[in-house]
């Protein structure tokens, strides 16, 4: 869903297109610059950091707070407040994820249209339960609430790629595309 090719992070650091670890300070600075430092920009800023870095580490929260807290402008914000946002919204991650994030729609329409069987097959194929990352850091498996494409359910997202009308037989081929 995000239009970023190099989103996945790799064992400890987020590599950029050039293979270099991304500079967290720079990411945070750019996000603040792009969205401004007003309260209604807090969530867009965190989304941007999450998008560029793969997740929101504690250090990013510290950096962002320093830039956003401006008493003279009557904008008051604490680190706890920002962490509160990062932990509240499902699209923001406070923990490092695998290189690829599999998001499985677990809402009723997909469930009724074959999702029930598919979910079992996904867990079995990946040998993961919801919220887990495999030891190699390849996949993180998450459930997600309705993605709004129920007409073609069951639906599954792997990173930004949407798979619809998925059957258990297709799973092996789908996951093989992601290293």
């Amino acid at each position: 869903m995000f239009n970023v090719a190099e989103t996945p992070s790799q064992a400890g650091q987020a590599p950029s297109a050039t293979g270099q670890a991304k500079d967290l300070t720079k990411i945070v600075e750019m996000a603040v610059e792009k969205h401004g430092a007003q309260p209604d920009a807090f969530i867009p800023i965190l989304l941007e950091i999450n998008r560029d870095y793969g997740y929101i580490p504690a250090e990013a929260i510290r950096l962002a707070r320093k830039m956003l807290h401006q008493p003279e402008e009557h904008v008051l914000v604490s680190e706890g407040q920002l962490y509160g946002l990062a932990s509240f919204y499902h699209m923001l991650h406070t923990e490092k994820t695998g290189r690829h994030v599999v998001q499985f729609c677990e809402s009723a329409p997909c469930h009724v249209q074959g999702g029930r069987e598919l979910w079992k097959a996904v867990q079995q194929t990946l040998q993961l339960k919801a919220g887990e990352t495999d030891p190699q850091g390849r996949f993180t498996l998450k459930t997600v609430s309705c993605l709004g494409v129920c007409g073609v359910g069951p639906v599954m997202l792997v990173d930004d790629d949407m798979y619809a009308n998925v059957t258990p037989e297709q799973l092996a081929d789908i996951f093989a595309k992601y290293e």
């Binding site: 869903m1 995000f2 239009n3 007003q38 309260p39 209604d40 920009a41 807090f42 969530i43 867009p44 965190l46 989304l47 407040q81 509160g84 946002l85 509240f88 919204y89 499902h90 699209m91 923001l92 677990e106 809402s107 009723a108 329409p109 469930h111 009724v112 249209q113 029930r116 459930t143 997600v144 609430s145 309705c146 993605l147 709004g148 494409v149 129920c150 007409g151 073609v152 359910g153």
Partner: protein, 545 residues
Amino acid sequence: MKFSRSMILVSNDPDSQRLGAQDVYRRFGEKLLELGLEEEVTLAPITDIGRHDALPLVIVYPEATAYGPVTVKDVDRIVEEHLYKGRIAEELLAPVKELSGRIGWLKARKGASPMEKKIVTRRVGRIDPENIEDYIAEDGYQALAKALGQERAEISATLEKSGLQGRGGAGFPTGMKWRFVAGTKSPKKYVVCNADESEPGTFKDRVILEGDPHSIIEALAIAAYCVGADEGYIYVRGEYQLAQHRLEKAIVQAREFGLLGKNILDSNFSFDLHVHSGAGAYVCGEETALLESIEGKRGEPRARPPYPTTHGLWGKPTLVNNVETLANVPPIILNGAEWYRSFGTPSSPGTKTYTILGNVNFRGLIEVPMGITLREIINIYGQGMKNGAPFKMAQTGGSSGSIIPASLQDTPMDFESFRKAGVSLGSGALLICDENNCVLDLAITLMKFFQFESCGKCTPCRVGTERALRMLTAISRGEGKLEDLDTLTAIAQEMEFASNCGLGQTAGVPIRDTLKYFRAEIEAHIRLGVCPAGVCEMTPEPEKV
């Protein structure tokens, strides 16, 4: 745009087919062509007609006349008399006494046709959503121009007369809300479009935003003029990237054309818009949680009152409307309240979009006049149940809707009739389930959703959803006790009465409805240790290591 004045439904279930329904259907098609009526009259097969005498049965709308049993020779007469001359062919009517009972729904539906009528989705797929000129060529921004020449009170009065009700699920009269906000005295006001569509099974707003983004911008500009706001937000759920992209593009174009910004159309009225992305939280569809989220806070609903109409975004009077509601506004302003009232039922005028999902042959989005019945939706638009399996239940309006058993499928779907039947129309998602689905399994899925999405601010919802989920899961594993059902009922009531917002207040509905309509099936899990549909595992969860 095709608009038919009449619609003919021909029963097409196996019994009818055996009795020659397909020939009847074919002859109808030929006869309509012969008389040149094919443009004016829609012909459709319908699978489960609800009665099994007088087959093949033919129903003609909008008069809701039932003919049957109809043979090929009768077709000419029906077409000539009823559709050509406008007289009912009395001698061919289905036996009168049979019109009560199972097809009593026909009477309730009289005067309103189940034909598709597009108002909010009329441009979707017809115009290039990224080109403002396409929109303008299709009457775009004319309603804004008209509104800017009107008194502000006139606009909200038109909406009140039209009878438009909020399409986000609650059905609050839109015109009244506009009048409330317009009546507040504040130098700063906001209009907000709630596009945080996250009800499972609902994607009507996405279709409108992606297919016709300018209609929402135009509606918001009219709203802002009417209530006296100069700034607006469209809060789009984070997952809808394409919708956000198209809206942003549309806003830039509208500014270039002078339809947003300062002195719009030389009227001294200034208005500008921001697109605000959500970040994945179902509860932000609740309007006060949405406002909290725009303000850069956790999306936890506020205590109400005060309502957003007086204390909304940044504490200022704020008008919050759903996407579909807003999409109705420009056509109403342009064509008038009377025009709008000619669709739907007297208590719920206009059209409603529905998403048909689940075990039917066709899944997707339709827009039909209010008051259509579930049976008609399943059979006409869903093209019947998949693999011919019997219909068991439908779940309406996403998670917060109701579970509707087969016995209620002939209730007209408008706000008032549904309220009387004690069910909720919700956001228009219709999840159709056949008999291979277990009602307990469905309830667990819904409860899992609520438990996952509960924001955790108030206790009844945070604790109630968790407890209910555990208890339901235990029953599905054969570990339930009969007294659990009483506890579940109590939890459902506590959540309904004591929760702070709509999420918690409706989280108990799946429990209430399953126990109301399908108690025997749940009890079978407990008393007999079997899942009648063969879905639940009925074995204890393996020990966690």
